[in-house]
Amino acid sequence: MSLNRDQIAMRVAQELEDGYYVNLGIGIPTLVANYVPSDIEVMLQSENGLLGIGPYPTEDQVDADMINAGKETVTAALGASIFSSAESFAMIRGGHVNLTVLGAFEVDQNGNIASYMIPGKLVKGMGGAMDLVAGADNIIVTMTHADKRDNSKLLERCSLPLTGVGCVKRIVTDLAVLEVKDGAFHLLERAPGVSVEEIQQKTAGKLIIPENVPEMTFDH
């Protein structure tokens, strides 16, 4: 069975380490914050200038001056710091954020990612995504393995305009966890009940399948 959005987020959360500074993109990545293992702590970076995103505010706490990069009202966590956009992207571009999780339209076997534009259809801009993928050593892409018409999103070569080149190292989809290296997708884990054959069938790029592909495990 393919994972739902929360389950993808739960699996990504297993990649977190105690003391990590993490930037979570909009959509599934945002859900990762709900599944941080209880024995570790992470600090969330918001590229509009906040390190240490707290919970959503109560009605009393709502403050137009305190938003996240998705323009949602938030609070500041204990130990937070607030700074300019230039400082925020100095952090990001300089590789100081330990992990970036973001969505994508397509990823290819060379680690290229397309996530910001579908020409003639969706042209909203890249926001901070290009800086995030260029700056992070450690990027996890979350997305469904294939689109609604079963077209693979894990390609030999991205067809859409790129957000970044050779930067994606790890992908968590509704079907599998994969590593991207040496020009191929390497299958690491499969979703519970999902067959290697289904993953192979929905992966258009080069897929390396080891002898044993364990099922993902969830503590929650």
Binding site: S46, E47, N48, G49, L50, P55, Y56, P57, T58, E59, Q61, V62, D63, A64, D65, M66, I67, N68, G70, K71, E72, T73, V74, A76, I82, F83, S84, S85, A86, S88, F89, I92, R93, N112, M117, V123, K124, G125, M126, G127, G128, A129, M130, D131, A134, G135, P161, L162, T163, G164, V165, G166
Partner: protein, 233 residues
């Protein structure tokens, strides 16, 4: 400090000298930390052919989005054009020129403009449409593209507090692009919530030193919120 008193009493005075085809650098992220009254004044003046450098272009009827209605903007330099149907329409129809710029590169272009750095290399955008026509150079085996800085005839900035000589303090994430915008205008105009006496701000805690600021006006802010998200009980 007469020569340093930068407080003006009307929006007209605050934006005096603005004319058609000028470039304006604007602070703000979405509707957060935007100089609401200065934008309204630009609309009132009706100048046309503006180039506006700002992360976003407000929403359909608030913030910089208001300047789209009367087609005052010729070109936007922005990282994100969502939340604004008229912006997308004018962009897709070709009425509005848009230079889509990665958010971090945009912030750095403003900072560099204010800091006398005409260009810098960044890995952001290498190999993407953003890199088209730009110089590429390798450092330590990695490819970077050359990005040029940006400055404006005017910068419009929103701060929380200013003293009368233009030292500024921002509040929470309403800081965002404002500090860089403040450095990048030939004339930098700041709209604030409160004007305090010189000496009231701690010299160690000033976000933008007064040297960058030319005019200050006290505004009253609506502070519209784009997405109110609340804690679940």
């Amino acid at each position: 400090m007469s020569g340093f008193n930068k407080v003006v009493s009307s929006y007209q005075e605050a934006m005096a000298g603005l004319s058609d085809d000028m470039t304006i650098i604007a602070g703000g992220f979405g509707l957060c930390g935007i100089p609401e009254g200065l934008i309204t004044e630009i609309k009132r003046q009706g100048v046309k052919g503006l180039t506006i450098v700002s992360n976003n272009c407000g929403t359909d009827n608030f913030g910089l989005g208001m300047l789209l209605e009367d087609k005052q903007i010729k070109k936007m330099v922005s990282s994100y054009v969502g939340e604004n149907a008229e912006f997308e329409r004018q962009y897709l129809s070709g009425e509005l020129e848009v230079d889509l710029t990665p958010q971090g590169t945009l912030a750095e272009k403003m900072r560099a403009g204010g800091a006398g750095i005409p260009a810098f290399y960044t890995a952001t955008g290498y190999g993407t449409p953003v890199a088209e026509g730009k110089e590429v150079k390798q450092f330590n085996g990695r490819n970077y593209i050359l990005e040029e800085s940006v400055t404006g005839d005017f910068a419009i900035v929103k701060a929380w507090k200013a003293d009368k000589i233009g030292n500024l303090v921002y509040r929470d994430t309403a800081m965002n692009f404002n500090p860089m915008a403040a450095t990048a205008g030939k004339i930098t105009v700041v709209e604030v919530e409160e004007i305090v006496e010189v000496g009231e701000l701690d010299p160690n805690q000033i976000h933008t030193p007064g040297i960058y600021v030319n005019r200050i006006i006290k505004g009253s802010f609506e502070k519209r919120i784009e997405k109110i998200t609340l804690a679940k009980n």
